[in-house]
């Protein structure tokens, strides 16, 4: 039986969050009432002319450089012609043969192995409007607010070989792009969108099979599921002697199926030609260099550095770099100084949990690195217990009060003196003769029960190590 190989290429559209649209001064913002951010240019009215937003070109360079691509020093725009109600001009201004960036790459890790995925090109273009279909009244409603939103389209080489690799590529791409500050990279809101070109071929065959294009992949898991569905479908068609038809398929994630988009059957004949309404653009080496110098440390470089510099394991470092704010906060704490592993544990565990519950972010957060390290040090010194430390953290997040004040005001300091703990331990031993008998009979598990009882009696403020110590001493005497 023939073994088939899956070949996938991804096309990712990234909406830039510039203040204005790509070719006009309309506000570029999601979530406004329909048709309230429009002007004669983005409505494609006769006699109007597009003018390129300088920031869009610079952001495009930034994306290209982050993907290790070559920046073209001479770029131009082209018309991509097709008729659809979401496109008021009857063409989309895009880039055809001279895109802003070409030949980049992104490294991904799949099952512990690193793999390089080539990036064919990244080009600038304008987004289309939004259609709402009304089946009952047999009409579609068009909102042109999104028309002219700047997009960077990032096209990968067909280097991806499985749904898992596709997932990892999109994850790595999103993370890299999120560091650039040029987009919200939010798949739910559509500021990051992904289409997948999928084909299969007998293993060992060089010639690519006929591909289909999957659209409407609104999440990472939808991408994975859609690719898996399409590979099974194509394999079935070929094994039963059929041929794959090149077509665009619309993925329905709820149903787990894809259907052909009839409306776009002829859409692949775009009759591109140079855009006469825009003159070409040149980028000199100095401009490109300035953008290169403005690039932040990229996530995978940061990941390797955090591991090397602070001795973190891959898991901890990987979580820290998922959020630039988190990684920065970590480094600020460690520099105070503080133990890197302990800081990482507090940030990845309790802090992330409390922040997620409160839906707060690092910008504008009332917890300073100093306060975080103070909490860690109080716990390490046995002044407060680990559990109380987490409570103090929550109070700092809510009130911004100083750590010492919170401990003093709420009487949270841990009781460590032998006398107070000894008294409680004696009471617990007296009150639980059955448990004591079990321990004497060799059931060590009951020790934990007694420690818990003592801790409860002391409202969580006792030093658990001390309780353990005194308890085992007293039990020998019983």
């Amino acid at each position: 039986m023939t073994t088939f190989e899956t070949v996938i290429g991804l096309e990712v559209h990234l909406q830039l969050k510039t203040k204005t649209k790509i070719f006009c001064g309309c506000r570029n913002e999601f979530g406004h009432e329909p048709n309230t951010n429009v002007c004669p240019v983005c409505l494609g009215l006769p006699g109007t002319l597009p003018v390129l937003n300088r920031q869009v070109l610079l952001d495009g360079v930034k994306v290209g450089l982050a993907l290790r691509a070559t920046i073209n020093n001479f770029v131009k725009f082209d018309r991509k012609n097709y008729f659809y109600p979401d496109l008021p001009k009857g063409y989309q201004i895009s880039q055809y043969d001279l895109p802003i960036a070409r030949q980049g790459y992104l490294d991904i890790v799949v099952e512990g192995k690193s793999k390089r995925i080539g990036i064919t090109r990244a080009h600038l273009e304008e987004d289309a409007g939004k259609l709402v279909h009304d089946a009952v009244n047999n009409c579609s409603l068009v909102d042109y607010n999104r028309t002219g939103t700047p997009l960077v389209e990032i096209v990968s080489e067909p280097d991806i070989r499985s749904s898992q690799e596709a997932y990892e590529y999109l994850t790595a791409l999103k993370l890299t792009l999120s560091y650039l500050g040029v987009s919200d990279c939010d798949m739910e809101k559509g500021s990051l969108r992904c289409d997948a070109n999928v084909s299969i071929r007998p293993l060992g065959q060089e010639k690519l099979g006929t591909k289909t294009e999957l659209k409407n992949l609104n999440s990472f898991s939808a991408l994975k599921r859609a690719v898996e569905f399409e590979v099974v479908r194509q394999t079935g068609v070929i094994l039963s002697g059929g041929h794959i038809v090149q077509e665009t398929l619309l993925w329905n994630d709820a149903q787990g199926t894809a259907v052909a988009m009839r409306s776009k059957e002829q859409a692949h004949d775009y009759r591109y030609f140079p855009e006469p309404d825009l003159v070409p653009f040149t980028l000199d080496e100095g401009q490109v260099q300035a953008v290169r110098e403005s690039l932040p440390e990229l996530p995978y470089v940061k990941l390797a550095r955090l591991m090397a510099q602070y001795g973190l394991n891959h898991y901890d470092a990987f979580i820290l770099v998922q959020d630039q704010g988190l990684a920065d906060f970590f480094e600020a704490c460690v520099k105070l100084p503080a133990d890197a592993k302990k800081v990482a544990n507090w940030l990845i565990g309790p802090l992330m949990k409390e922040m997620n519950e409160r839906r707060i972010f690092f910008t504008g957060m009332s917890l300073t690195p100093q306060a975080m390290v103070a909490i860690i040090q109080k716990v390490e010194a046995g002044v407060i217990s680990n559990i109380v430390g987490k409570d103090v953290l929550a109070i700092v997040l809510d009130t911004g009060k100083a750590v010492d004040a919170i401990i003093a005001e709420n009487g949270l300091a841990q009781v460590s003196d032998d006398e107070s703990i000894g008294k409680v331990v004696d009471e617990i031993i007296a009150a639980n003769p059955a448990a004591v008998a079990e321990i004497k009979g060799g059931k060590a598990g009951a020790v934990g029960f007694l420690v818990g009882q003592a801790m409860k009696r002391m409202q969580g403020k006792a030093n658990p190590k001390k309780i353990n110590e005194i308890l085992s001493r007293r039990l020998q005497d019983v």
Binding site: K19, T20, G25, N37, P85, C139, S140, M261, L278
Partner: protein, 94 residues
């Protein structure tokens, strides 16, 4: 060779309605136009830089500054078919 099939295809791409009886005429005319343009193929352009734009101008930008556009009333006022603040068009099937 432009035949009726190509004429129909181009007409559908351009959303033009063409009577079947006119198809041979358009095929002949398009063929003649292509034939005329083919003359350019005789020129040796190996050393000629491709023209990206007829104007000898580059780098015309605008700054990323918001400018007031049209009010929704103005924007929708140019259409006879609107509903709920949107333009209404025949339903696009997907």
């Amino acid at each position: 060779m432009v035949d009726e099939k190509i004429v129909r295809y181009i007409a559908s791409l351009a959303r033009l309605h063409i009577e079947t009886a006119d198809e041979p005429k358009f095929a002949r005319e398009l063929e003649a136009i292509l034939h005329y343009v083919e003359k350019l193929g005789a020129l040796d352009v190996v050393h000629v830089k491709p023209t990206s734009h007829v104007l000898d101008v580059e780098n015309v930008f605008r700054d990323d500054v918001i400018k007031p556009g049209l009010s929704r009333e103005q924007a929708l006022g140019i259409s006879e078919n609107t509903r709920d603040g949107s333009y209404k068009v025949p339903r696009v099937i997907e």
